[in-house]
């Protein structure tokens, strides 16, 4: 789980960074590696060390170190994906890896995805999103009832409604986007099980 020994975290003078910054940089590396499993880990570690150095320089300006380190490292990866892809030839390992990793650059795909997310946003109220978040993170109906401070039957009914709403949108979305299915934004009917 930990990447503690992977990072050489020192400031400009070669002294070790503070434990807080070390932990933040290590957490950021772990998290961004999870977000971008196909980006070269050595490259990520290099960026994480740069983030750690810069954090040590800024010192007291940083209120929440983990949040800062994660945002900074994520930003570096995004920049690299954007500019790096543009500089590459149309064939080669990096482009293939991005495709496998799900970095879909298709305009049509991103439009489909945005439309789908807009529809979900309109259809799902705040409470529905709360339920969705809980379900995605493996909470049982009983736990959902506890979080929403409602009864078990009411929670079950609410869960059912959320699933129906999502089902209706994904069902409609797949019909509209028939034939233009992108890899990440695809509407997979086999994946949807309204229990």
């Amino acid at each position: 789980m930990t990447d503690r020994h992977l990072l050489h975290l020192v400031n400009a003078e070669g002294a070790e960074v503070s434990p807080v910054i070390r932990e933040a940089a290590e957490a950021a590396l772990r998290w961004v590696s999870r977000d971008h499993p196909n980006v070269d880990k050595a490259q990520l570690a290099d960026w994480a060390e740069a983030v750690g150095r810069s954090m040590q320089t800024r010192g007291s300006d940083i209120e929440w170190p983990e949040r800062y380190a994660y945002a900074a490292l994520k930003g570096k990866v995004r920049d690299w994906l954007r500019t790096g892809t543009a500089q590459e030839e149309t064939s080669g390992v990096r482009r293939d890896m991005e495709r496998i990793g799900g970095a879909d650059s298709s305009f049509q795909g991103s439009v489909d995805r945005r439309i789908l997310f807009d529809q979900l946003q309109k259809a799902l109220g705040e409470r529905d999103r709360d339920i969705l978040l809980l379900l995605l993170n493996e909470k049982s109906a009983q736990e959902v009832a506890g979080e929403l401070q409602t009864s078990y039957p009411a929670a079950r009914k609410a869960i059912q409604r959320v699933k129906e709403r999502i089902g209706a949108i994904l069902d409609g979305g797949s019909k509209q986007t028939d034939g233009v299915v992108n890899e990440r934004g695809s509407v997979d009917q086999r994946g949807l099980t309204v229990e």
């Binding site: 503070s18 999870r34 209120e63 995805r113 997310f117 979900l120 946003q121 705040e126 995605l136």
Partner: protein
């Protein structure tokens, strides 16, 4: 449900780059680790903030990974002999018997085995503990071995501890990290927690949760690390 797509929906559809109204790191971590009471407002925020949802997922995954690394205690299943018929009344009687025995053993243990005032070590839930450093003499930094030894020594159980730390006189409020480490260089960290210190009646205190279940009983250092400038102070700590 199509989990990946719906996760992406929460990760992308509610951008909040300026982090308006976001809870602090420790609150988010506590929420991810199911340590917040039900009905707290963090859920509503996280389901409407893509940045917080991304962090929440990582905290939760870290927590799950850490739990997987803990040694699991499993009771081997006994095969039921062929031809036996399990009857509901027998199951109910068994449960009643076990529950009664458990209560009896627990009471005996509580009455006789545990000396008064000893910290309650339990795997069932967090143990509350207070550390008062208000009048403590402190050592700053990790290099100077000749510095005067601090007067205070605190002890904590090797358990999940909800620790309330009253910080030394003249401490500033704001974010603090409480670290338990094997050495004062802070390179061998056993547990850590992040909290926001607040001034109540002239005393600044911070609340953190430390998971000391993997800490071997012995001597450690408890460090308070101020978030604003990483000012670090160390106190000897005994883990029982």
């Amino acid at each position: 449900m199509n989990d990946d797509l719906l996760n992406d929906f929460l990760l992308e559809a509610f951008p909040n780059p300026e982090r308006k109204g976001c809870p602090d790191e420790e609150t988010l971590r506590a929420f991810a680790e199911d340590r917040l009471p039900p009905g707290n407002p963090t859920l509503q925020h996280v389901s409407s903030c893509s940045e917080c949802y991304a962090e929440y997922r990582h905290y939760r995954q870290d927590w799950k990974d850490a739990r997987l690394q803990l040694p699991a205690v499993s009771i081997p299943r006994q095969p039921v002999a062929a031809g036996w018929k399990v009857r509901p009344w027998a199951i109910a009687a068994g449960i009643l018997f076990l529950a009664g025995s458990g209560l009896f053993v627990a009471k005996q243990y509580h009455d006789h085995a545990q000396p008064e005032g000893a910290p309650a070590v339990s795997n069932a839930g967090p143990v509350a503990a207070n550390v008062d450093l208000f009048n403590a003499v402190t050592v700053r930094g990790g290099e100077n071995e000749d510095a005067p030894k601090p007067l205070e020594e605190v002890s904590l159980p090797s358990s999940v501890v909800n620790l309330h730390v009253t910080l030394p006189r003249f401490s500033e409020s704001g974010p603090y990290r409480i670290v338990v480490a094997k050495d004062r260089a802070g390179t061998n960290i056993v547990a850590h927690g992040l909290g926001n210190a607040v001034d109540v009646g002239g005393k600044v205190s911070v609340m953190v949760t430390l998971d000391l279940r993997n800490a071997v009983p012995g001597m450690y250092f408890l460090a308070t690390v101020r978030g604003s400038d990483n000012g670090t102070y160390y106190y000897p700590l005994k883990v029982n």
